[in-house]
């Protein structure tokens, strides 16, 4: 696979963006005996970016500072502030100041009141799996007929690993890809795994790409936030070369998501949703 082909289509990070994402740093490398080697190393850029909705400050994210339109759209969509791409009137980016203002139609004050509000259990019944009220409201079980062979899963994880030039240069980013069984469709990387997922979500949201037949591949841990984000945007399969947490496994069960971890060295672990693994035609 040639990653350059994807970049040319404008669906991957461009070479220029990659260059903007990293910066050289003069470092000293020491061994136990005190021997030092002077060297220049690439380090990943980290910038605070504040997201505004209709000029109201909502959150400040620490990120690599690229694809800010997708980051803002993905964040506000996944967090429930906007419902449809038609809601977006414009996205103003001030890279220098680290500010992104998304202008949107509609009233988001109710969502603002609910955002990041912890659910409270009364102890009087079987409670909720969710810890934020908005997540409970917006996460729905994912219905999808997607079937993937083990070979396809392993190939797409290997595609993801090949695509991250920045990771190879810095070891400082999380990579995330959106793929169908046969190919990677979209690739994003960032210092935060949530940011990388938000960029993917933002891109598909802005471009109206359906997600019920796609899988999300990430290098990050499979935590509850990742599952909730996938459920909110209807992604049926989530894959990582990393491990899953207990709450992620529980949520995967209730949200109907196929959860795959430890995807590396030609193997993977399915925590939930094995019915989507097509072993019949696996090569």
């Amino acid at each position: 696979m040639n990653p350059g082909a994807y970049w040319k289509e404008g669906r991957m990070n461009t070479v220029e963006e990659l260059d903007n994402s990293v910066t050289p740093a003069s470092v000293g490398i020491y061994d136990r005996g005190g021997k030092k080697i002077e060297q220049t190393q690439w380090v990943i850029r980290e910038s605070p970016v504040t997201l505004y909705l209709n000029d109201r400050e909502i959150v400040t994210l620490l990120c690599a500072g690229h694809h800010l339109d997708e980051l803002a759209a993905g964040f506000f969509y996944a967090e429930g502030f906007i419902v449809s791409p038609d809601d977006i009137l414009g996205i103003d980016i001030d890279e220098e100041a680290g500010k992104v203002n998304l202008s949107a139609k509609g009233e988001a004050s109710v969502t603002e009141r609910l955002w990041q509000k912890r659910t409270i259990s009364s102890g009087c019944a079987k409670g909720s799996l969710f810890y934020f009220s908005l997540d409970a409201l917006l996460s729905k079980p994912v219905k999808s007929d997607i079937r993937i062979t083990p070979g396809q899963i392993i190939d797409r994880v290997e595609d993801l690993n090949r695509l991250s030039e920045t990771y190879r240069r810095t070891h400082g980013v999380h990579n995330t890809a959106l793929a169908d069984p046969d190919k990677v469709i979209l690739f994003r990387e960032d210092i935060g795994r949530h940011n990388a997922v938000d960029m993917i979500v933002g891109h598909v949201f802005l471009h109206g790409i359906p997600l019920r037949d796609k899988m999300l591949i990430t290098t990050g841990r499979l935590t509850s936030e990742m599952l909730i984000k996938a459920a909110k945007v209807n992604i049926p399969v989530v894959v990582s070369r990393n491990t899953a947490t207990s709450l992620a496994v529980e949520l995967a069960g209730s949200l109907g998501i196929t959860l795959i971890g430890h995807a590396r060295a030609g193997k993977f672990t399915v925590y939930n949703g094995q019915e989507r693994i097509d072993v019949g035609i696996s090569g």
Binding site: K117, S122, C124, A125, K126, L129, P141
Partner: protein
Amino acid sequence: MSVYLDNAATSFPKPKAVIEASGRVLESVGASPGRGAHKHAREATAIVAGCRRKAAAILGVKDPDRVVFTKNATESINLVLKGWLRPGDRVLFSAMEHNSVMRPLTKLASRGVNIEMIPCSIDGTLDLGIFKRMLLSDVRLVVLVHVSNINGTLMPIAEAAEMCARAKVPLFLDAAQSAGLQPIEAEEMGIGMLACSGHKALLGPAGVGILYVRPDLEVLPLMEGGTGTHSEELEQPEFCPDRYESGTPNLPGLAGLSEGISYVLETGMNRIRDHEIGLAHYLENELSKIPGVRVFKPETRGSGTVSFIVEGINPADTGNILDQAFDIAVRTGLHCAPLAHQTLGTFPEGTVRVSPGFSTTMENAEYFLQGLRWIVTRRG
């Protein structure tokens, strides 16, 4: 707007007279009723006696001394169940009972009391046909909730009381949700024992419960102690209410309850009931029109309590969103009545319960419906 829709748990806000009466006791009276002969004690005693007269009047009991004050309906229920039932006895209870009945009964079952459930229909109404057959063999007690704390189902108490009278079995009525809303003529209906709260539809402060025991029923007290009467004797007095009222009573609570009952009697129980049930019918109808909302309607409604779920959302989450985004207080989950939720088919997650009070307005109801519509629309 802040809207309180949890009157089935406890009524709020309380009438001003209730707040003032409780406050006045703490500020100016401050004595132990029935203990001492000084002016303060005499006034305290008079306050309790006045409350007892009003409680007797509203429950249809001629002799106020048959009315006992406890700390809550749960204590009244425990007193009757543990003071009346003995190992080997058979007790019937409905499939809509609260844990205030079920937990003491379960404890008694472990001590050899035979407990048997009378089935109810899917809306919670007692099955009188089966009940009649169950009464045929030896029964020591029948325990029935008057009005469900989950969906407001009104039990056919007059018919049940008549059947119990024919079978010569005492009927123990749990009137926690109905006292102050439904007309109760305990003596005329031949009810054996009755328990209720003072802080729900009787509008008093929390901390006072009421118990009525028919004179011919030998119910043992739950505890013994000082009563301010016959203090020279080490044995507990045998007469009512002292037999069951040991220790210093909750005077601020009783002073408030006295005013709460007055408020109900002066306003008119029918007027309060019509207002609350009218709101419940409106809410039920409007909720039924919202796609994805399932309402658990009773066949016969006895209170303003409405239960529903939004399909796909845990009731606790619905309640959290109503609280956090709209400042609307509802109660979610099992409402301390898991058996009743099993009957309604809503176990183990329960329902969202909305219970308007006399001060709930149509504007409040509309605001609640707007909030719920937002949730359903946003859920998509």
